[in-house]
């Protein structure tokens, strides 16, 4: 009887192990399914024209009609503009706040406040960031309410907490002995911070920037509210309406035109590739930081 009970406990335990392993398998299903679908439907449109041509006239093939494939030059350029502009806004602010918190805040409450604010900001829904940027421009200048500039502000709101947090962590891993060595040489505080402490933490800071870009490059929701309708025209400057890869995926998904739909899958594949590259790079810079802090 007793033996039997122990046996049942064991079998139950094995059963739970199998179930927990099964959870991994179930989680992998959507990952595999999404990546498979994106490759299957995206790969056929990735060719020279895809990168160099304008968005085509909308068209669905019927007997006797062949559609022009076109390309996503404008969304691609737009995404690059957005990455550049939003980084330009978010990176200096994020790094500055992190340096202040770590190097000048000490253990004071102001230092912890920055970390807390960054944590809280990281929970802001992306659509709210979009609504915020939109209303800023409605108040400031409604004619520019739909522009790369406006969209970049929305994306920067999402990037600042990531840059701040990662940069803070990187600066905190720089040993105190490095700062003491610099101080003992009579190097002024700001030079020490910029050229020694910050340089030591640089791989970690780059990791933060890469992660922030990876996050913002795929965001579509804030763009829906702030970027307007600029997909059909060539790029006209940062205060004009614009387009971006994630936004084009939305248009392709919600319009009934076969060639737009095909391009949308191409954009999805391109975006997936970009984000994969960014996450591999960020892993590499993170290792670089760890190696540097081990003194290798």
């Amino acid at each position: 009887m007793k033996f039997d009970l122990a046996g049942r406990r064991k079998i139950f335990s094995h059963g739970m192990t199998v179930l927990s392993g099964l959870a991994i398998v179930v989680i992998m299903v959507p990952l595999v399914a999404v990546v498979y679908e994106v490759f299957l439907l995206g790969a056929p449109v990735i060719n020279g024209a895809f990168f160099t041509q304008q968005i085509p006239y909308p068209c669905t093939p019927e007997p006797g009609i062949t559609c022009h494939q076109g390309g996503v030059l404008v969304p691609l350029e737009g995404s690059l503009v957005l990455i550049g502009l939003s980084s330009l806004l978010a990176v200096p602010i994020g790094i500055g706040a992190a340096i202040f918190a770590v190097e000048y805040g000490g253990e004071r409450r102001s230092a912890r406040l920055i970390g807390m604010v960054a944590d809280v900001l990281s929970g802001v829904p992306s659509i709210v960031a979009g609504a915020f940027a939109l209303s800023l421009f409605i108040i400031y200048d409604p004619t520019q309410a739909f522009s790369y500039l406006d969209a970049s502000i929305a994306l920067a709101v999402l990037m600042v907490p990531i840059v701040t947090r990662t940069c803070e962590e990187a600066l905190r891993t720089v040993p105190h002995s490095v700062r003491e060595a610099a101080l003992a040489l009579g190097i002024s505080r700001w030079k020490m911070t910029v050229r020694i402490t910050f340089v030591s933490a640089l791989p970690g800071v780059i990791t933060g920037i890469l992660l922030a870009i990876a996050r913002s490059a795929g965001e579509a929701a804030p763009l829906l509210l702030t970027l307007g309708q600029g997909c059909a025209h060539p790029l006209q400057g940062i205060t004009a309406e614009g387009c971006a890869l994630p936004l084009w995926i939305f248009y392709g998904a919600t319009n009934p035109y076969q060639n737009w739909y095909n391009l949308a899958w191409g954009c999805a594949l391109l975006l997936l590739g970009l984000i994969l590259i960014l996450s591999v790079l960020s892993r590499f810079t993170l290792d670089w930081m760890a190696r540097r802090m081990r003194g290798e």
Binding site: V178, E180, A182, L183, L185, G186
Partner: protein, 255 residues
């Protein structure tokens, strides 16, 4: 405690140093002779590292730390000067070698010049050469001054840190247990170096190793529980200690 027959380069007056509310050193009065080696000895936790860190105002950079009292350098109170200016005149070498890991050997040594005075390349080359020779490291690194500083052995790294401190052209060199992380061969190299350096620099060295203090120093100060117990020429202190505490420490009865 005053010096006999020597001119004082530095003078500590009524110095107290604190970490938060707790007092690490108490009412220290002490003089350091010009171009001589002064050793500060005492059991761990006696405040000797805190004292030396007050001599270049590094103590106050630690969280919640501050110091009260005066430290004179050539008659001028450090605590009335700009701390960066103080640290350019009073160099320091730390317990664990701390070269800048992101810089080459050359850039480590030239750091105080590049960051503080920006001399011409030629002058900088000369200064680096001189500092590396003074630190007795030149022969070992002359073929690879552009290699990473971290590629050096521990003893070499410590001499690199000495060269880096010297390149800034200080008048006083503070050494906070500079050999505690090194093997005996590296240690004896550094000790030889100290003997040569005093020709040009006032050297103040903290050590928990009494033999080392006896070997390298001209004057010795013994500290215990944050207080200066005894100070005098090294020979006198080790052979004819005036205080009971000093005697029991150097004879190894506590520590």
């Amino acid at each position: 405690m005053a010096l006999v027959n020597e001119s004082a380069k530095m003078e500590v007056q009524d110095l107290n140093a604190f970490y938060g509310p707790s007092r690490a050193i108490q009412d220290i009065n002490l003089q350091f002779a010009d171009r001589k080696v002064t050793a500060i000895i005492g059991p761990s936790g006696c405040g000797k590292s805190t004292l030396i860190r007050c001599l270049n105002r590094l103590h106050e950079t630690a969280p919640h730390a501050h110091a009260e009292g005066s430290v004179f350098l050539d008659g001028e109170d450090l605590y009335r000067m700009d701390p960066t200016a103080v640290r350019r005149r009073v160099g320091m070498v730390f317990q664990k070698p701390n070269p800048f890991a992101t810089m080459s050997i050359y850039n480590n040594v030239s750091a105080p010049l590049r960051f503080n005075t920006r001399p011409s390349r030629e002058k900088m080359d000369q200064a680096v050469l001189r500092a590396l020779k003074q630190a007795a490291l030149w022969d070992e690194v002359k073929d690879r001054v552009d290699a990473a500083a971290t590629s050096l052995s521990g003893g070499q790294q410590q001499r690199l840190c000495i060269a880096r401190a010297l390149a800034g052209n200080p008048e006083v060199l503070l050494m906070d247990e500079p050999c505690s992380a090194l093997d005996p061969i590296a240690t004896s190299k550094i000790e030889e170096l100290i003997a040569q350096l005093k020709a040009e620099y006032t050297v103040i060295i903290v050590t928990h190793n009494m033999q080392q203090a006896a070997r390298v120093s001209d004057f010795t100060a013994f500290m215990y529980l944050g207080k200066l117990i005894e100070f005098g020429p090294t020979e006198d202190l080790f052979e004819r200690p005036k205080e009971k505490l000093t005697e029991s420490y150097i004879t190894g009865r506590f520590g």
